[in-house]
């Protein structure tokens, strides 16, 4: 019960705090809208038949990933800059329970992206917003957010060792957009990209949302997202412990 309360309070605090950040508003609202517009124009100019809802959902998911990547990847760095990392590690609850609400909050903030791209698409590009399977869509949404939040936990735990963690965040934005098939069918990419995409929650998340919204059975993808979330949690737990110990040994917690 205490654990759930800690996660809930931490999540609420970080969602409020991130909502007040200009940078996050840019990442989670403006950037997805601009990328969605680029994609809408490209698909309109192109010869492929298809629904713009496919593009809107993909662009929204791009924003969720960016928000998770920069939020979770930068989580440790911010604590470092603010001089609070040592305190976060020294407090009685496990560090996992301190950092997990933050990574979940960064993924949650990404929901602004999805909302923004869908509303933008509806208003300016006449994107149809009819959802074929509303129940599956409503379930897929939080499951996807949790999946990305827990993937963010792995990012946060591994980035603890690097001073220039934001550089890795900058590097990882486009590749994940590409290999998870957010705007491009995976069948166009080299065959070896497939197995990589299976290990990433955004792949299953976007497939679940698209299946639920456009047509198809979203439940297997939702199940895969949940399974991956559990795997991420286990990996994140051990990675966080390992890197925290290394950072203590090497006295790198305060490096800025």
């Amino acid at each position: 019960m205490k654990t759930l309360r800690l996660i809930w309070v931490g999540w609420k605090f970080h969602v409020k705090s991130l909502t007040l950040s200009g940078f996050f508003i840019l990442t989670s609202v403006l950037q997805p809208i601009i990328f969605a517009s680029v994609a809408y124009f490209m698909f309109r100019a192109g010869a492929r038949e298809g629904t713009l809802l496919y593009v809107a959902l993909g662009a929204g998911m791009m924003g969720i990933w960016s928000s998770t990547l920069f939020g979770s990847g930068g989580a440790i760095q911010w604590q470092r800059w603010q001089g609070t990392l040592e305190y976060c590690i020294a407090v009685p609850p496990p560090f996992l329970l301190v950092i997990l609400p933050l990574t979940l909050a960064t993924a949650t903030i990404g929901l602004y992206s999805l909302t923004a791209t869908l509303v933008w698409g509806r208003l300016f590009f006449s994107v149809p917003l009819e959802v074929a399977h509303p129940v599956a869509f409503i379930v897929a949404l939080p499951v996807t957010v949790v999946g990305l939040g827990l993937l963010g936990l792995i990012l946060a735990s591994t980035f603890i060792m690097y001073r220039n963690a934001n550089a890795l965040s900058n590097l990882l934005e486009y590749p994940v957009w590409l290999v998870t098939g957010l705007l491009v069918s995976l069948s166009l990419l080299p065959f070896w990209v497939g197995p990589i995409s299976w290990l990433l929650a955004p792949t299953w998340g976007i497939n679940a949302l698209r299946d639920a919204a456009i047509a198809g059975n979203a439940w297997p993808e939702i199940a895969m997202c949940l399974l991956l979330s559990a795997v991420y949690l286990v990996i994140g737990y051990f990675a966080l412990q390992h890197f925290e110990r290394l950072a203590r040994e090497r006295a790198t917690l305060t490096l800025t």
Partner: protein, 262 residues
């Protein structure tokens, strides 16, 4: 004159070195060379999937656009970084001429933009369906240099606004994304709504990208000289606007004592 040249070259060099103090090579390589690879691949594959334009269209558009990144982020970081490290007030307290002071900071960033762009062309040639003959390279280099100059001029405007705004990085990000949307980087210009084409014609990059596409398509530099001169003119206009804004916001900053606000 000698003092101004000293401020321009040595001041610019030291500022660039300071930039690299903030931007270590472990930051520079993933951000300035790593991310561009995936940006090009991402848009080229969307193009293939949406069945719009060829790989060449996306390689040229994104490679030229990437020359903007160093100029815009670099100038934002220069002013934002001075503010962050609380050195903006001492800098502006010096009697140095502001024109060489800030243009000197822009020069290395133009060079940086050209390097990023050249690397992006190389990646496009290596990984995608994009060919470039040796004879096209000098003309393309001129176009990229002019585009890097005009984008850095826009970066100077962003930097100048950084004297007034607390969060200049927000603005820098917004400007880079806006260029991606408006300037025909990934979208054929004629498919954009009329008002967006009007805006695009007043922004850096638009004419540079068009000229670069022309050269990659077999035109000579003289064939696209009109576009290159327009790009250069737009760059000069932004540089002038930046200089005026620097002067204005410096006075304003002194009056409001806001240089150290972070």
């Amino acid at each position: 004159m000698r003092e101004n040249l000293r401020v321009f070259f040595i001041g610019g060099y030291l500022s660039y070195r300071a930039l690299f103090n903030w931007m270590h090579w472990s930051y520079y390589i993933p951000t300035m060379l790593g991310a561009p690879i995936f940006q090009i691949l991402f848009f080229a594959y969307i193009g293939r999937y949406a069945q719009v334009e060829s790989d060449e269209f996306f390689v040229v558009g994104n490679a030229v656009q990437l020359s903007a990144m160093a100029g815009i982020y670099g100038m934002a970081m220069t002013v934002g970084g001075e503010r962050w490290t609380q050195t903006l007030s001492p800098l502006l307290a010096t009697p140095a001429n502001r024109l060489p002071l800030f243009l000197g900071r822009a020069l290395p960033l133009i060079a940086n933009g050209i390097i990023t762009s050249a690397f992006a062309f190389f990646v496009g040639w290596l990984l995608l369906d994009f060919e470039l003959t040796w004879s096209e390279i000098p003309a393309l280099a001129v176009v990229v240099a002019v585009s890097a100059f005009s984008c850095t001029s826009l970066g100077l405007v962003v930097g100048a606004l950084g004297l007034r705004m607390r969060d200049v990085f927000f603005l820098a990000n917004f400007v880079v994304y806006a260029l991606l949307l408006f300037c025909g980087v990934n979208i054929p210009l004629d498919t954009l709504p009329g008002w967006m084409q009007e805006v695009a014609n007043r922004l850096p990059l638009t004419h540079g990208i068009e000229a670069a596409r022309g050269i990659a398509g077999g035109s000579s530099l003289s064939d696209v000289s009109g576009l290159v001169w327009t790009e250069l003119g737009i760059g000069a206009a932004y540089a002038t606007a930046a200089f005026v804004l620097f002067k204005l916001f410096e006075l304003e900053g002194r009056r409001r004592a806001s240089f150290e606000t972070i």
